[in-house]
């Protein structure tokens, strides 16, 4: 029998914190990212090559979470959902002040293209019973962050395993 509070059990498998990106996928950040890692792949730079290979210019798939990191300031901004809010909800609910991310897998779907406006949400997949590790005592949890484009096509998923814990005294 699960020792999870009913509130947490209710979160498992549920879409939470669905938001739309604040801005369209933009070439400037694509070029800046490619420049930062000296990535000369023509599908990001050369329209002719991109038309032939990827049916038009695309963003590097690994940029997927960039489109939800806000500008430092924006007019009329109200409260923002924190990236991985579900992770912070779990820390708070279980009273676990410390946390680490032990594993991060990103899976890529349809290519993301300049002009796309993406949506994202978070899904809690599972939470372990209490476990003792060398860091302390706490729980492991798996969270998926799903991304789709404006047409509802799946463009990627980030999967995190987190461990929330308190140091043993």
């Amino acid at each position: 029998m699960s020792d999870l509070p009913a509130e947490v059990q209710g979160w498992i498998g549920q879409k939470r914190y669905e938001i739309e990106g604040e801005f369209d996928v933009e070439p400037g950040y694509i070029y800046t990212t490619c420049s930062s890692v000296e990535n000369g792949n023509p599908i990001y730079w050369d329209e002719k090559a991109a038309n032939e290979i990827t049916e038009g210019l695309i963003a590097p798939p690994a940029m997927i979470s960039v489109w939800f990191r806000p500008h430092l300031w924006a007019p009329n901004r109200t409260e923002q959902v924190m990236p991985l809010q579900v992770h912070f909800d779990l820390k708070e609910t279980f009273g676990l002040p410390e946390a680490v991310m032990s594993d991060n897998t990103v899976t890529f779907g349809e290519p993301v293209r300049p002009g796309d406006r993406l949506r994202t949400w978070q899904v809690l997949r599972k939470v372990s019973g209490e476990k003792k590790t060398k860091l302390g005592t706490g729980r492991f949890w798996d969270i998926d962050v799903e991304y789709v484009n404006q047409g509802g096509e799946w463009v990627g998923t980030e999967s995190y395993t987190g461990y929330g814990y308190r140091r043993d005294s």
Binding site: S36, V37, N41, E55, A62, N104
Partner: protein, 163 residues
């Protein structure tokens, strides 16, 4: 126009990816953080990084490391290579003044049930002589000349198959 293309029949388990080496400067770290909209001070403010994080300098952020790994893999495959998934485990940080060295090995080559050819690779980033990140990735390759994994849509694209 033709572009360098690695096809699945040219790849075998145990193959090594060409090594990639890059000297890291403060600009490398700051540009990478800016490119990924990461304004957290440990990636641009030496005083904050040393006094608050207890590390010896600013350090590279994770999204930019992901971009470095992606570049490393597709330098090897050419532009027809399409990443299916990538999995990271961070062990240490990358600091200015170090040299990053990327290495990789092919651990498997297969074809999925919709005919897409895949290579799995294990990757390692050594910086300043320390293994800072280990990574596994699955990348789709053209099965033969004329094939193009980027043309796969919907049910013909199954990157999760072996994740």
């Amino acid at each position: 126009m033709s572009y360098p293309t690695l096809t699945a029949d040219q790849v075998n388990s145990g193959d090594s990816l060409p090594e990639l080496s890059k000297d890291v400067s403060p600009v490398t770290v700051v540009l990478g953080a800016m490119a990924s909209r990461d304004w957290r001070p440990q990636h641009h403010d030496h005083k904050f990084a040393t006094e608050n994080n207890g590390v010896r300098d600013i350090f590279m952020n994770t999204p930019n490391l992901a971009a470095w790994f992606e570049r490393y893999v597709t330098d090897w495959t050419g532009p027809y290579g399409r990443m299916g998934w990538i999995r990271f485990r961070m062990k240490d940080s990358v600091f200015p003044g170090e040299t990053m060295v990327f290495n990789g090995t092919v651990t498997g080559v297969d074809t999925d049930d919709v005919g897409c050819a895949w290579a799995e690779v294990e990757l390692e980033l050594v910086s300043g002589g320390r293994t800072t990140t280990v990574c596994t990735a699955r990348v789709a390759l053209p099965a033969h000349e004329g094939d193009n994994p980027w043309k796969r849509r919907g049910d013909d694209w199954k990157p999760r198959a072996s994740s």
